[in-house]
């Protein structure tokens, strides 16, 4: 146990200092951490799943709290600037914006949503495995004519129906109907459900019967499933890139903004399949990641043109498709994307150009965005926009009313509403924005949307 505490604390410190870059890396590290927590967690014989869920929730709470998003970021930043400026320090300009902003050099470290996503995924895995084991155990018990439990004799005639029906009913409450569950073969779910009391009795007794064999199995299954999850996260780029050939055709012009590894892999996969196309890369002020992307694409032999962000509207009339990556996909199908993409999406809609978003499933967040421009945003250092030295003579905070004449706003993210997104390409295939809620039903449980332990 102390081992896991140390690991968790180490990861929390990394998250707070924003040393982890990129949502994929964050997701992978979170999943691995949770896997070690599970494997080292000692679980009691009864209510195993609940114990596991509790443990994961406590760790998850810590992880999610480690990466807070600034609320009312604009006012906070302005107040910080004002406060520091009153002390009259020129060199404090950059400190005033929050020292931690400076530590972030390149690569986004807005991993808070990814951390929460993975925690919820693992919780859902635990619930699912527990349920499938219960179903299998009960199914196996009912198939064998001999019952260990003498109290079961009086209910001989009903165990098949009751237990299986209870399991099916439980599963249907756990997982709202999604495409996968609808297509699953559940012949015994059509049977009439018995009275709940008898069903509960047989369930409880059968549970106590093979606890010992299940105790090892639950953990084992959960760890296997988490391994699969880690594997999925690691290969999400390849799976998305496999679909590139269907979407990019000969002599097309693609527009993108900023830099995203998923987009690079996507475009290069199409290039390898001998499609020839051109790419316009918008710079992505103020970090100008577009330059990095363009260099990378040129190195791989793609014809690239770099344009300023302001020229996006001008060029988009000659573009066939816009392909971008996202940081997070919200439950309504909207995306949190690098700043400037809302503008690009609007221009694409205006010119009827498809706006395609590439996102791994680990970026899918079960939360609905409320006021996302402010609440799900981060404001970065204004030194990226303005040199303090240039404006030091304009900013005279010592005299007069004392409130700052100049605010500099440098948000990191943009919210793009779902109606502007034409297509999501994820590692499970292409989806419409309105299909996102179904994917959430598949990957997350409704109980886990708020990762907080109930006060005991």
């Amino acid at each position: 146990m102390p081992d896991t505490h140390a690991l968790v604390n180490e990861f929390v410190i990394k998250l707070k200092k924003r040393k982890v870059e990129g949502s994929k890396a964050t997701a992978k590290l979170t999943a691995e951490l949770l896997r070690s927590v599970i494997s080292q967690q000692r679980i009691p014989h009864t209510n195993q799943a609940v114990a596991l869920i509790d443990a994961i929730k406590s760790v998850g709470e810590q992880l999610i709290a480690a990466n807070p998003v600034e609320r009312d970021g604009d006012k906070v930043t302005a107040a910080k600037v004002q406060g520091f400026m009153r002390t009259g320090g020129v060199g404090l300009w950059e400190e005033a914006t929050g020292g931690r902003e400076k530590e972030r050099e390149d690569g986004d470290s807005f991993g808070e949503l990814a951390v929460g996503n993975i925690v919820r995924r693992v919780l859902h895995i635990i619930r699912e495995e527990d349920l499938s084991l219960t179903t299998a155990a009960i199914g196996g018990l009912s198939l064998s004519a001999v019952s260990d439990d003498e109290d079961d004799v009086e209910q001989d005639g009903h165990p098949v129906l009751s237990a299986a029906a209870v399991a099916a009913a439980a599963r249907s409450t756990l997982r709202p109907p999604s495409l996968q569950t609808l297509l699953e073969d559940l012949p015994h779910s059509a049977a009439a459900p018995p009275t709940s009391s008898s069903g509960g009795d047989s369930d409880g007794k059968s549970k106590s019967a093979d606890k010992s064999s299940r105790s090892r199995k639950l953990k084992h299954n959960v760890i296997e499933a988490v391994n699969e999850l880690i594997q999925d996260i690691a290969t999400c780029h390849e799976q998305i890139a496999e679909q590139a050939v269907e979407h990019i055709h000969q002599n097309e012009v693609i527009l993108t903004l900023g830099s995203s590894i998923t987009v690079i892999e996507f475009l290069c996969a199409a290039k390898e399949k001998k499609r020839s196309f051109r790419v316009f890369v918008a710079e992505g002020a103020p970090r100008y990641q577009g330059h990095v992307l363009a260099k990378e694409l040129v190195a791989r032999g793609l014809q690239t043109t770099v344009i300023t962000d302001s020229a996006v509207f001008a060029m988009i009339s000659r573009v066939n498709m816009v392909i971008v990556g996202a940081h997070a996909v919200m439950a309504n199908g909207g995306i949190i994307a690098p700043v400037g993409l809302n503008m690009v999406a609007l221009a694409a809609q205006r010119h009827a150009v498809p706006f395609v978003v590439l996102a791994g499933i680990h970026k899918l967040c079960p939360l609905y965005p409320h006021n996302p421009e402010v609440l799900l945003n981060e404001l970065k250092s204004p030194s990226e926009l303005l040199d303090f030295g240039e404006f030091s003579d304009c900013l005279d905070f010592g005299s007069g009313t004392g409130y700052p004449l100049l605010h500099v706003v440098n948000p990191a993210f943009d919210y793009v509403p779902p109606k502007l997104v034409s297509l999501f390409i994820t590692d499970t295939g292409g989806h419409n924005a309105s299909y996102m809620y179904r994917l959430i039903a598949d990957y997350y449980s409704a109980d886990d949307f708020v990762v907080q332990r109930r006060p005991s």
Binding site: A285, P286, D309, S310, A311, A314, M343, V409, N410
Partner: protein, 266 residues
């Protein structure tokens, strides 16, 4: 440019056995082609040159050389006074009535008309804030920011990508224009259309401030048909790229609430 033409007319003298009108017109054409070599003409410059040539052609033949020159010089002075200086004053007077106390205005790049509006409104005591949106490669917004902050106007400075973030605070968008075309399209600095588009999404009124001498009888659908490529050295990159300096705003009437201009005596 007009003042340069004034100087050249002052120094001009008709060579013997040549008509003033034709010779002067030929000289002006020379100057104009030299200017075009340096940089493509803006639409307002084209309009001014057309005005000057019309005045030269309409000169009565009975005038002596000095009288003709004096007439031309006074014509150019009148043009500058009426169409540029007075026009700006009237625009500012109209526009200031659109600014209420407590407003947050947004402007893009650096437009002289918008700057005059802001300064005048501040002078007459209106309380408002200005958001200056800037973009590469020219980063003209910084100059405007300097001038506004120096006068004591509270400003917010941001880059064009952040326009979606800041637009929810904004009440009005004031934009300058290089020209307004016949189909209502506004021709302005690259990036203006993006700002107008986002303003439209957030239901913020967009006001274009453009003097009448910049109007032009041409129609254009998008920004690529006729444009000007900027200097690569402005861009600071290692490989080939091209960038647009001017840009066309698609401008159906529902996108903006009003276009302020001055219809002067034509």
């Amino acid at each position: 440019m007009l003042e340069a033409f004034q100087e050249s007319i002052k120094d001009y003298s008709t060579p013997p056995e040549k008509a003033l009108i034709r010779d002067l017109t030929a000289k002006i054409n020379c100057y104009v082609s030299f200017l075009i070599e340096c940089r493509p003409l803006s639409i307002s410059m084209g309009n001014a040159i057309r005005f000057l040539k019309t005045r030269i052609v309409k000169l009565p033949l009975t005038l002596s050389e000095s009288e003709a020159k004096a007439t031309l010089l006074s014509d150019i002075d009148r043009f500058i006074n009426e169409k540029i200086i007075l026009a700006d004053k009237v625009i500012v007077r109209h526009a200031v009535t659109k600014i209420r106390d407590g407003d947050v205005l947004l402007t893009y790049g650096s437009s002289s008309a918008v700057e005059m509006i802001c300064l005048h409104a501040h002078d007459i005591g209106k309380q408002f804030r200005v958001v200056v949106v800037d973009s590469r490669p020219k980063l003209e917004g910084r100059l405007l920011l300097h001038r506004l902050v120096r006068k004591g106007i509270t400003c917010t400075y941001t880059h064009i990508n952040a326009v979606s973030y800041i637009m929810h605070e904004v009440n009005r968008v004031f934009l300058g224009a290089s020209s307004v075309l016949s189909n209502g399209t506004v021709y302005s600095r690259v990036g203006t259309a993006c700002v107008a588009m986002v303003a439209h999404q957030f239901h913020v009124p967009v006001l274009i401030c453009c003097e009448a001498y910049k109007f032009y009888e041409r129609v254009q659908l998008d920004s690529i048909c006729s444009n000007e490529l900027g200097l690569l050295s402005d861009y600071r990159l290692y490989w080939s790229c091209f960038l647009m300096l001017w840009m066309v705003l698609h401008y159906p009437c529902h996108l903006s609430r009003s276009v302020i201009h001055l219809m002067c005596c034509r």
